[in-house]
């Protein structure tokens, strides 16, 4: 006879909530990047208002984890899994905030400049890469796949490289008076938030490794 059926079901529901939150963050990133690429401030505003849903999910996941810890008194792998869920919800919430920051950057650019003239360099590609990382890390969480988590974290090196490249390009443009300081600053912030996306995903990868193996590792 299988035992702890009820607890297993609750863990399964919690996993679904994490995935749901991850999908909301993915959509927020998608919309933020789309608003940047297509010069769409209305879409950017939606990212800002919809962030409330992500914040609410974080609170809901935290509550569920705390209740499970208090009532089920999990140990070993169960305990590590719940701690990991708590940590992942925090990382996802921060990523939602970064999508908001990108959206606010889009609105700032829109207000002050002719948007179509602003080169975005590698940033659209960075957006695609971190989106792919997010999708993969959610799968590796669901499947407790340590190897996949480690391979996702490695992609962050490419994101970091592209981030550095964007910085160089923005400064070159600035030196050649092809952009103004305010524009350049906003672009550098957007670039930075995209890079932070990759960092948060790497953190999630590290927590997945901890959840499965009990070992704290530094990835990326």
């Amino acid at each position: 006879m299988e035992i702890r059926v009820d607890f297993n079901e609750k863990i399964s529901k919690l996993n679904n909530e994490i995935i749901k939150m991850g999908v909301l963050v993915e959509e927020a990133l998608d919309k933020a990047m789309e608003s940047l690429i297509s010069n769409n401030p209305e879409l950017a505003k939606r990212v800002i208002t919809e962030d409330e849903n992500i914040n609410e999910m974080e609170v809901s996941i935290e509550d569920h984890c705390i209740i499970l810890i208090a009532r089920e008194q999990p140990v070993a792998g169960d305990l590590r899994h719940l701690v990991t869920a708590l940590k992942i919800s925090t990382q996802l919430e921060r990523m939602g905030d970064h999508a908001v920051h990108i959206a606010k950057g889009v609105i700032r650019l829109q207000k002050n400049h002719n948007f179509n003239d602003i080169p975005l360099f590698n940033m659209p590609e960075m957006g695609k890469i971190v989106k792919g990382m997010l999708q993969q890390v959610l799968t590796s969480y669901l499947e407790s796949d340590v190897e996949k988590a480690k391979s996702v974290a490695l992609i962050d090196n490419e994101v970091d490289r592209m981030h550095d490249e964007v910085i160089k390009n923005v400064f070159v443009n600035l030196m050649h008076n092809q952009t103004d300081q305010q524009n350049a600053t906003t672009l550098l912030f957007i670039n930075r938030f995209l890079e932070r996306f990759g960092d948060h995903i790497t953190n999630i990868c590290e927590w997945i490794v901890y959840s499965v193996s009990g070992n704290h590792v530094e990835l990326g």
Binding site: R4, A76, G77, R80
Partner: protein, 256 residues
């Protein structure tokens, strides 16, 4: 694992008649630490506990193989004085079992038998204070111990044990017959006692093992129903990152 052993179990096998209840236990107990034995019913944890002060000798048909090394001697060597051993390795049982005598006499009884020459009143006070019972009973030392509550009786049994200044205290489910508050008092007391004594406890309550012990040994039964040691490690490792899948399944309630 630290290396401050007070007790070494080496290839310990215990038989009840032809039945091997415990097989090949190897385990070093650390001085002034609390070691918990956990495992499903029938895994031999109480049998191992009782072997440490030769209480199994009192059960007919019991045979012990291997060694229990205490103070550099195998306590199962022929000629070893088991009575004297039990002064140094005391035991507290599941059900409080004070003598049907006064509170004070419960403390002085063992000392008197052992030829204690010191001041008995001081011994009573010191032992009861050591068992965190003095404040509750100091005005009724001549009352019958059986009038105390279950938790107080158990602490009296602990006081009685420490009155003879043992090195090790064995506890077999010492709080399982007590309510939650009395249980927490015993647990607090064990933590305090571990500064001066080595404690080995058998418990079915895994949260209790997790709360109070420094080291945990997990035992279970093999296909012949013989108990064996699955994993022995620091309690924090056992409850956060056990190395053996069987340990993980047991402590997380997935079998047992």
């Amino acid at each position: 694992m630290e290396n401050n052993n007070i007790l070494n179990l080496k290839n310990l096998n215990i038989y009840y008649g032809k039945f091997r209840a415990v097989k090949n236990i190897n385990l070093n107990v650390q001085k002034n630490k609390i070691t918990a034995f956990i495992g499903p019913s029938g895994c031999g944890k109480s049998t191992v506990l009782r072997s440490i002060n030769r209480m199994n000798d009192l059960i007919e048909g019991t045979k012990t193989e291997g060694e229990v090394i205490f103070q550099n001697k195998n306590i199962y060597n022929s000629g070893f004085d088991a009575i004297s051993l039990r002064k140094q390795i005391g035991m507290v049982f599941q059900k409080p079992n004070p003598f049907p005598k006064s509170i004070a006499e419960n403390i002085t009884w063992g000392a008197r038998i052992n030829g204690y020459k010191g001041n008995m009143e001081e011994l009573v006070e010191k032992s009861l204070k050591g068992a965190a019972l003095w404040d509750e009973v100091k005005d009724k030392l001549k009352e019958n111990a059986l009038r105390l509550s279950g938790g107080q009786q158990q602490r009296l049994c602990i006081a009685r044990t420490i009155a003879v200044q043992p090195e090790i205290i064995l506890m077999d489910e010492p709080a399982s017959a007590l309510d939650p508050v009395a249980t927490l008092k015993i647990e607090d007391l064990m933590k305090t006692l571990s500064k001066n004594y080595t404690i080995i406890i058998v418990t079915h309550n895994m949260q209790q093992a997790s709360r109070i012990s420094d080291y945990t040994a997990f035992l279970m039964t093999d296909e012949n129903r013989s108990g064996y040691l699955v994993e022995y490690n620091k309690t924090s490792t056992i409850f956060i990152n056990p190395k053996n899948k069987k340990t993980e399944d047991y402590i997380s309630g997935r079998f047992g």
